[in-house]
């Protein structure tokens, strides 16, 4: 089943601002990264998926349902974690998540049980009975995630879940999202303006810019063919470059590094052979996973 499918989805706001333009994309269940700069249309897309906005043109389907005509059915199966602060400071996390669970249609006792379960899964234990106002940013983000999880959705929409977190907090949040996507059996759409973050945890990546689709593909398809070997020698970089060029390897210079596309295992041997032949002091030779960012950067510059 397709998780999310859009067809020429367009949203033009009242003021004539086009937030999304002719977006056609289909993604499979799993962890989906939605990346784009601020203002690229990520939040608009999420609101369209939730049926909070109606599309100007085009069609959208979530879990096989149409959020424009049947928003309640979609929202019953989707959990949403907004980007901004959304927690009333005077309620305790347990009360808030329980109340929101009941609002999602859980019976009273179930809501209470699932609220403490959800809070436990995000790593909040005894502190869940304290007022949210006294929580750190990291704890608040966890509560926001727990409230999206409380009614056991089939899809989580997370809008910038790592917002405002320190590096350790970011790692913990990403690990948690990854765990939800892999172990809990819940599909996740993670929105972020930081490509480096989401590419670590997602299976599929959707990149949008200025309301248009840049690229949507499995992360493996984006990175596998583009791994490179980085070679650094203390001296004789030029000579090595010439030598490798003579071996029909397409060498690129990047500062003091030589970058060689990794075709197969032989590439290693060829490089090592060349270094040994020239008797150069090898500083390092490592495989560098091509960052997805570079793919987009290249695409974008070719657009311009």
């Amino acid at each position: 089943m397709t998780l999310i499918a859009t067809e020429s989805l367009t949203k033009v706001y009242g003021g004539g601002v086009t937030a999304l333009s002719e977006l056609t994309v289909a993604v499979e269940p799993g962890i989906v990264g939605l990346v784009g700069a601020n203002g690229a249309g990520k939040s608009t897309l999420i609101k369209l998926l939730l049926g909070l906005l109606t599309p100007t043109r085009g069609r959208v389907r979530v879990l096989g349902l149409d959020p424009t005509t049947d928003p309640a059915a979609v929202r019953a199966r989707v959990g949403y974690m907004p980007e901004h602060d959304c927690l009333p400071p005077d309620l305790s996390a347990a009360e808030l998540v329980t109340h929101l669970g009941r609002t999602s249609g859980l019976p009273r006792t179930v809501a209470r049980e699932r609220a403490s379960e959800a809070l436990r899964h995000v790593g909040l234990h005894e502190e869940r009975h304290r007022a949210v106002g006294g929580y750190s940013t990291g704890m608040k983000q966890r509560v926001k995630l727990a409230q999206a999880l409380v009614h056991d959705p089939d899809l989580l929409l997370l809008d910038e879940p790592t917002n405002g977190l320190d590096p350790a907090g970011r790692d913990a949040m990403l690990a948690l999202v990854h765990r939800i996507g892999t172990e809990f059996g819940i599909s996740v759409l993670v929105c972020s303006h930081l490509l480096g973050e989401v590419e670590r945890i997602c299976d599929t990546l959707v990149a949008i810019d200025g309301g248009r689709l840049l690229r949507a593909d499995h992360i493996a398809a984006m990175t596998s063919a583009t791994d490179v070997l980085a070679v650094e020698v203390s001296e004789g970089t030029e000579a090595l470059a010439d030598r490798l060029g003579a071996l029909d390897l397409p060498v690129r210079r990047e500062g003091r590094l030589l970058l060689v596309p990794l075709a197969d295992e032989q590439t290693y041997d060829l490089i090592l052979g060349a270094v040994a032949e020239l008797d150069l002091p090898l500083h390092r030779l490592d495989q560098r996973r091509h960052r997805v960012a570079e793919l987009f950067a290249r695409r974008e510059s070719s657009h311009a």
């Binding site: 009333p88 899964h121 704890m139 056991d152």
Partner: protein, 293 residues
Amino acid sequence: MPEPTGVIHDIGYQRYTGPRLGRRPVFGALYLHGVRTAFGLGRSAKAKIFPWLVVGIVLMVAVAATAMRAQFGQVVMTYAQFADAMSWLVIFFVAVVAPELVSRDLRSGVLPLYFSRPLPRSDYPVAKLLALVTALWLLLGAPQLLMFLGAAFTLDGLGAVWDELLDLLPGLLYAGMWAVIFASVGLLIASLTGKRAFAAGGIVAVFLMTTPIVGTLSILPSQTANQLAGVASPPTLVQGVGIWTMRDLLITDPDGVAPDLGPYGPVYGLVAVALVAACVALLLARYRKVAAR
């Protein structure tokens, strides 16, 4: 205490396959949560102070009235008059509780969490409105019930108790009218701002500022203007409807000064209905806008 570090004891995630309730139970949960919020239940001790102070005062007045009636055998105030006498407390109660119900949610940004859930977006404001109506009605109705019970124990014979009950019911109805009008006006004002102090000030201002208008209209040299003066302010509007529908219960002193409605009683009734309808319509429009953000 150190920050939780994301260590998760792996008991495993359980999928939920049980029943999911429909719109009505969800609406009921929201409504009940609203009523509890109005009285500060499930909130901090600080949030309980004001509502229970007001509850304490109205109950004390009711106890005093009951005691005086038992002692001297004289009815100090009818049930309907009780609601009138408490009008200022009701205004303050609305000014504090209405912002607590809606402004707080606007400010904390919690609304996207409601609107991303299955309930239709009109359910949220309607549940809040009904919750405030209920809270106000309980505030005015519970003391009346207390007065009734006090009276019932001192009266002789079932017939007298029955007569007393026939006095109580219009009183409760009148209290309901206060509740509906004050709740719809108060909640609409509170829904316009996320700042509770502004909302409270706005509510008091609307109820206070309109009083001089009534005063001015009632001394104009036109009899029509005098008789319609009460329409200009919510408290006098409610009183007007009360006088039109249950005059004997509100005006017990034949020599006392009472607002003269002339033939315009039905106008008061119509204006009251129109006012509530307009407030509810504006409230729904307001939340349509909020939800789309």
